[in-house]
Amino acid sequence: MKNVNGPLLTNIYGVGLRNVHFNYLEQSPQLFTGWFEIISENFFRTKGRPRAILEKLRRDFPISCHGVSLSIASYEDFDWDYLKDLKNFFHEIDPFLISDHLCFTGLRQNNLHNLLPFAYNEENLIHISARIHEVQEFFGRKMGFENLSAYFDYKESTMSEWEFINELLKRTDCHLLLDLNNVFVNSHNHGFQVDDYLEAIQFEKVQQLHMAGFSERENFYFDTHSKPLYPELIELYKKVLQKNPHIPVLYEWDEDIPEFPVLEQQIIHLSNIRAEFIK
């Protein structure tokens, strides 16, 4: 399978492109960010302003396309019209990474628009591996898949999340988009050790990191992407730096989104930590 990574990133820190920042970005301000990640579904079928902004940014920045509707763990056939439009879109935008989530999102006629967990067992390993092969074959390139935050587990799970992911990476040769926030949130909610997770994960397969701020209610953590960096996440990032300091990092902020410079402060902070680490 062809590995389309495009040019090496000169700055490994990126942010999510959100429409609340369009006005700001249209002014072509001086930016720290080295690249943008887009939610593919917000851009792939529009010829309106979102597309115009994306094309403007694409002239100066690498783009990573991250999807939310592939539903790789679904037991229905893919929505081939959706995949064809995505493929055309990738051809036009030439992203350095294409990715989606390790989840199902609903049924074709009943999309919950959420990232829903599945049981970590052999049945799903066989099924999802076959689907990843199918979709990578269709796109003609590898995809990244993101670990998700789950608010329940299945009694039918026979392996840990990291064991499942490792086996999936081995069987499909896909990339891992490692969401550190999700690892942290799951470790707190599910009661496992973060170190067990990070020690087990094959970092050579990690093509991108996601970081975000979570929220807390009744001592349960929710992956809301609504806060600045927490010290716990920074500590986790330092552990990742020891594994591989060159992985591109995205900061996500999707609720109560602040001004763009505040968002950039998060990645500047991470960049400073990395600079100290590799000094």
């Binding site: 329940f152 299945y154 001592n219």
Partner: protein, 250 residues
């Protein structure tokens, strides 16, 4: 239960509350969040996401109804229409039809048409901007009886029984001055320089311009234009067509 069956039952459970007891026997509870509460979290999240999508598309409808009634409307809509879209922002495209028979329309008879207007606004916003003939080129083409003209894809002519554009504008500008919303309105909505723009039209002008939703020569259009159309109406329509470049040679 295999994963395929679980998925179906889980989705039904989130949408309708069915299958809850059965699903709970298959889920592993966390000490910090019992499984029944986890289902509630997913249910609340589902409703919040789709309601937010409706709010984004129907900003004026939301402003007219206020939070409480809009939330009730969204809940009703969700019950009747699950999403079949890959992009959440597309959710809600049957709102105008849904509102035609909805109780809220008894109080606000313009709701369905306002929803239609907002759908069209969204459609034109995402449409590729196409510039039609400039006024000078148009002069040449209208004398050619064999040349057919058509509205550009980024323009549409809309007619409503109520002052929909006025309702829409006043909602979004939070203008609370009173006006008679019972006056019918015809609107040319089009895209220019990346923005959705509008011109109000007379009934005669809109009837004439609507003919160009399908290819038609200018002379043929004049022949079937309303008999009551005045020279002033025709002249101002021609000015708009030339200025806004909304007709293409097809």
């Amino acid at each position: 239960m295999n994963q395929q069956d679980f998925n179906k039952k889980f989705i039904e459970c989130i949408r309708t509350g069915e299958n809850t007891e059965e699903l709970l026997t298959l889920m592993k509870s966390f000490s910090r969040l019992p499984s029944d509460r986890a289902l509630e979290v997913y249910r609340e999240d589902y409703q919040a996401r789709l309601t937010d999508a409706l709010k984004n598309t129907y900003r004026a409808l939301h402003a007219v109804l206020g939070d409480e009634d809009f939330l009730l409307l969204a809940r009703d809509y969700l019950k009747n229409y699950p999403s079949s879209y890959s992009d959440l922002d597309d959710y809600g495209d049957k709102m105008d039809a849904f509102l035609r028979g909805h109780l809220l329309s008894d109080e606000y008879p313009f709701l369905s048409q306002l929803a239609h207007f907002e759908q069209m606004f969204r459609k034109i916003f995402h449409q590729e901007e196409v510039n039609g003939l400039q006024a000078t080129d148009l002069q040449t083409v209208i004398t050619d009886e064999s040349a057919n003209l058509q509205l550009v894809p980024s323009a549409v002519v809309l007619s409503y029984d109520f002052s929909i554009e006025k309702i829409f504008s006043s909602c979004l500008s939070e203008d609370d001055s009173s006006f008679d919303f019972l006056i019918p309105q015809s609107i040319l909505m089009f895209k220019k320089n990346g923005l959705v723009k509008m011109h109000l039209l007379s009934i005669n002008q809109s009837e004439t311009l609507k003919k160009f939703h399908t290819p038609l020569s200018f002379s043929a259009c004049i022949k079937i234009a309303p008999a009551t159309m005045t020279p002033d109406e025709m002249q101002s329509l021609f000015l708009i067509i030339g200025l806004e470049q909304i007709l293409l040679k097809s």
